[in-house]
């Protein structure tokens, strides 16, 4: 039996939610366009997007120079953020982000933006492809080999770092009885043999498998014996009976904030078992009723930021986005640890302020000029204009009420002073833009 499919109305609100969960939110007109295709057509378009087109102004730093993502600090973050903002393949980019979190590698440990961007390209290439191929390539990926000491894992002195995490975080999960401490040690032996060279000018380079560093002896892993090597280690994890449930549950959690029912999980596992393909599992999740009728999700910070830029068609005009990303709790290429970002704790008083600053940064490029103020305006008019600035996001009644109350009071403060009557509404409009973008409505989708 397949996974349940959403049969309710598929209008603009549903298409918007889909674009938030499967991408970075709608550009003007995008949700309406998607809604016309119906659910199936919309999901088909997202999962089969064709060649990528980058739409909108090209990224540059504050002095107008092009980004240098391989070399300059923070430009890696800005480069990817730009791609999220301008891409015509939002789901591919979103899945690239999923794999960055799933196989979380930090440049903190790798120390090479080039290696990180090469890994990023690997995630993008397999965004909706085969998890089998992805796991094999990640295991042999230079950034990962540096990050989890794959090239320090040598016959005679095995290093357990990658072997443990590939089971705990990438394929099987902790505390499920899927593997023992002995399996960790034996996996480490199976994974021996990778090496690379280092030079002052080139850094880490020449990653390759050196069979003289590989432990060719017999290993016993998951109660099976064999002279397993790194390919064997990957295969054993993929064929482990607890892998499909781990895979389906984890993938689901990126799109829906409540766990899947047993029936849904069984259906997703069945789809996945048939060739380890990612795309059909993602498609089933995107068509699931839980996505449209279930609770909202807190947007990951980078999705919130990219979404605001997409809404107003603004490009990357500064590399401030890198440190702002860090304040929001998500600097790309620097996940906090190998387990990735904690999607259940995006919001706290520090990261909320980070999101506030992200909006502040956008608005400092789009300042309203009080000198060009028009004649006296009502609170409702000002609020309507602020909403238009963000391309008419839907607000809850409670939020709309508070914003209107603020606008009324703040405009009334102007009293009878002529210049205040002109300038206060302008300030109020700017403040409303800020408040709308940080409201609980826009932090969640």
């Amino acid at each position: 039996m397949g996974a349940p499919v959403y049969r309710g109305e598929f209008g603009k609100p549903q298409a918007e939610r889909l674009l938030w969960r499967a991408g970075f939110g709608p550009r003007p007109g995008e949700a309406e366009e998607l809604a016309k295709l119906g659910l199936e057509g919309a999901v088909h378009r997202l999962t089969n997007p064709g060649f990528e087109k980058l739409v909108g102004p090209k990224p540059h730093d504050a002095k107008g120079r092009p980004l240098a993502p391989y070399d300059a600090w923070g430009h890696d973050h800005c480069w990817w953020l730009d791609r999220m903002v301008r891409t015509s393949r939002p789901l591919v980019e979103r899945m690239t982000l999923v794999w960055h979190d799933w196989f979380a590698t930090s440049n903190d440990g790798v120390g090479s933006q080039r290696l990180m961007l090469e890994q990023n390209e690997l995630f993008r290439r397999h965004a909706l492809g085969s998890f089998h191929d992805l796991l094999f390539e990640v295991t042999a990926n230079p950034a990962m080999l540096v990050w989890l000491n794959g090239t320090e894992n040598e016959k005679g002195s095995p290093n357990e770092n990658y072997g443990r995490e590939m089971m705990e975080l990438f394929t099987l999960g902790a505390d499920r009885g899927a593997y023992t401490e002995n399996d960790v040690r034996e996996q480490a032996r199976a994974l021996t043999g990778w090496t690379n060279r280092w030079s002052r000018s080139r850094g880490e380079y020449d990653f390759h498998f050196d069979k003289t560093r590989h432990d060719t002896g017999l290993k016993r892993i998951f109660r099976r014996s064999g002279a397993f090597d790194w390919r064997g280690a990957c295969k054993l994890c993929l064929e482990h009976p607890l892998h499909p449930s781990f895979f389906a549950t984890k993938l689901w959690s990126y799109f829906v904030p409540v766990p899947p029912s047993r029936r849904t999980l069984a259906a997703l596992e069945a789809i996945y078992r048939d060739g380890y393909q990612v795309k059909p599992v993602v498609a089933a999740i995107l068509m699931h009723p839980a996505l449209y009728t279930g609770p909202r999700m807190v947007k990951p910070p980078i999705v919130h930021t990219a979404g605001l830029l997409r809404r107003i068609g603004m490009g990357i005009t500064t590399t401030d986005w890198a440190w702002i990303g860090s304040l929001t709790g998500q600097q790309l290429f620097y996940p906090p640890n190998v387990a990735g970002w904690d999607d259940t704790r995006w919001l706290d008083t520090a990261t909320f302020r980070g999101r506030f600053i992200a909006v502040q940064r956008i608005l400092s490029d789009r300042k309203l000029d009080p000198a060009k103020a028009k004649d006296a305006q009502t609170a409702d008019e000002v609020l309507a204009r602020a909403l238009r600035f963000w391309n008419e996001p839907a607000l809850s009644d409670g939020t709309a009420h508070q914003l209107r109350a603020f606008a009324r009071r703040a405009i009334a403060d102007a009293g009878s002073a002529d210049w205040k009557q002109k300038q206060y509404p302008v300030m109020v409009e700017q403040a409303l833009r800020q408040l709308i973008a940080v409201s609980p409505d826009l932090q969640t989708s």
Binding site: G111, T151, A174, A350, Q360
Partner: protein, 452 residues
């Protein structure tokens, strides 16, 4: 092929340094640093950096002198504070206090054995890592309790599971609130986010509450909210409206989370506003430079000195401790910076006359494998912890079990103290609170004397 060479690569070091600062709040103004243009975070905002703090003086024009933050502070001025410092990744106990006097040490650590440290006065087998010499000094003054082998039964060697156990105060993977969070839920108040303060970049899991607000900040003087082109009464109204957005009701859990955090942020802003207006006095003891950890400790000391109502504080130690490879190159600077920072913090508290109100617990999720793997060590079991403060009992709890008989079947150090007993003792003896209300099965764990 690798070795320390990769770590000293000039470009990486510089990028590292920049990132380390930028990752912790307002970036420093240093050559090559991208200036945070357009946000109003101008140099003016950094003029009092000399205090070790990035203070946002541009917020100085705002009103709000004696609001609830200061009022609450006045009421709680004498309350005890527990600071926790996490050495993330599993700090190697056989390096922190290394068993030079154990005949098996060099056999298990042929290349990684530490030397050059001073003997630990309570156990002739152990020596302080040279980087921890500042802690040895504080220990000699009776201000450090050492836990040479602390952990729990049936050790879990996953970073995330073991850390989770320590954060929630139980070997239970399903518990969602932190041990300090549960304490604050019972003993804290509804209007004081500063009672549980993280300076770890995001909220520390140990401080996760179910009921009362807690806070995460990058530094005390930076917590402002403003919008370009908005000032005067409109700005005041806008800040009120921000708090009002936090009161919007919803049946949706994520929406409610977003609203709650909005409200907490608004309260926290008001609490910290007077602090930002009035820069703290410069600490008498200089803190180390070039890292965010000492800056954050300086910020905590300044906040305590200013009377802000802190109760539980969580920070991350300098450095990374998951030393699977290149251990010496990673551990030496990490311990040096951490040790020197903790020392400066203690002296700062003493200078400010608040040292009797603060205990600092330094911990890690586990220790590392006794046998080295080449250039590093894999995940182990029991680790080392420290409790620092003028009121710390100052005598070791548990003892080093020795390498001949003190290793378990996996070759990892066996615990001689249980972290849950330590938490229980801190709750009872320091925070004067019933441990059974916070730590599941608290009675099962022996509670050592930790406070004098």
């Amino acid at each position: 092929m690798t070795g320390p060479g990769r770590i000293v690569c000039d470009e990486c070091t510089r990028a590292e340094a920049l990132r380390a600062v930028a990752g912790r709040g307002l970036p420093a103004i240093e050559p090559g640093m991208p200036v945070p243009a357009g946000t109003g975070l101008t140099r003016r905002g950094f003029v009092v950096r000399s205090a070790g703090l990035a203070l946002a003086v541009y917020g100085a024009g705002r009103l709000g002198l004696f609001d609830e933050g200061i009022a609450a502070a006045a009421a709680q001025r004498s309350s005890k504070i527990l600071v926790t410092v996490f050495m993330g990744g599993g700090a190697d106990s056989l390096s922190l206090l290394y068993p030079e006097g154990d005949p098996l040490y060099h056999q298990l650590r042929p290349t990684l054995a530490v030397d050059g440290g001073t003997q630990f006065s309570e156990d002739a087998r152990l020596y302080w890592h040279p980087g921890l010499a500042p802690l040895a000094q504080l220990h000699a003054e009776g201000k450090v309790t050492v836990f040479p082998s602390i952990g729990y039964d049936h050790p879990d060697q996953s970073h995330f599971t073991s850390r989770h156990f320590w954060e929630v105060g139980a070997t239970d993977t399903r518990l969602l609130t932190g041990w300090l969070g549960r304490y604050l839920d019972a003993a804290g108040t509804n209007d004081n986010p500063l009672q549980g303060l993280s300076l770890t970049g995001s909220l520390s899991p140990a401080l996760a509450t179910a009921r009362v607000p807690v806070a995460a900040i990058d530094g005390p003087g930076q917590y402002d909210f403003w919008v370009p082109g908005v000032w005067g009464t409109v700005e005041t109204r806008m800040l009120d409206a921000l708090g009002a957005l936090g009161s919007v009701r919803s049946s949706d859990p994520s929406f409610r989370t977003a609203a709650r955090v909005t409200a907490q942020s608004s309260t926290l802003r008001r609490q910290l506003e007077p602090f930002a207006k009035d820069p703290p006095t410069k600490p008498a003891t200089p803190y180390p430079t070039g890292d965010s950890f000492p800056q954050q400790l300086a910020g905590v000391a300044a906040m305590i000195g200013a009377g802000l109502p802190l109760r539980c504080v969580a920070l991350d130690a300098s450095g990374a401790y998951d030393t699977h490879a290149g251990q010496v190159a990673a551990l030496d600077p990490a311990l040096q910076m951490t040790g020197a920072s903790l020392y400066a913090f203690q002296r700062d508290l003493e200078e400010r006359g608040v040292a009797d109100r603060v205990l600092t617990l330094v911990w890690s999720e586990f220790g590392r494998r006794a046998k080295e793997n080449g250039s590093g060590t894999d995940h182990g079991a029991a680790g080392t912890a420290f409790l620092i403060g003028t009121r710390a009992a100052g005598t070791q709890v548990g003892e080093f079990p020795g390498l001949a008989n003190g290793l378990d079947d996996d070759g990892n150090l066996k615990p001689t103290a249980d972290f849950r007993g330590v938490y229980g003792a801190l709750l009872e003896q320091w925070l004067s609170f019933d441990a059974a209300r916070v730590i599941p099965d608290a009675k099962k764990f022996q509670r050592p004397t930790l406070v004098k």
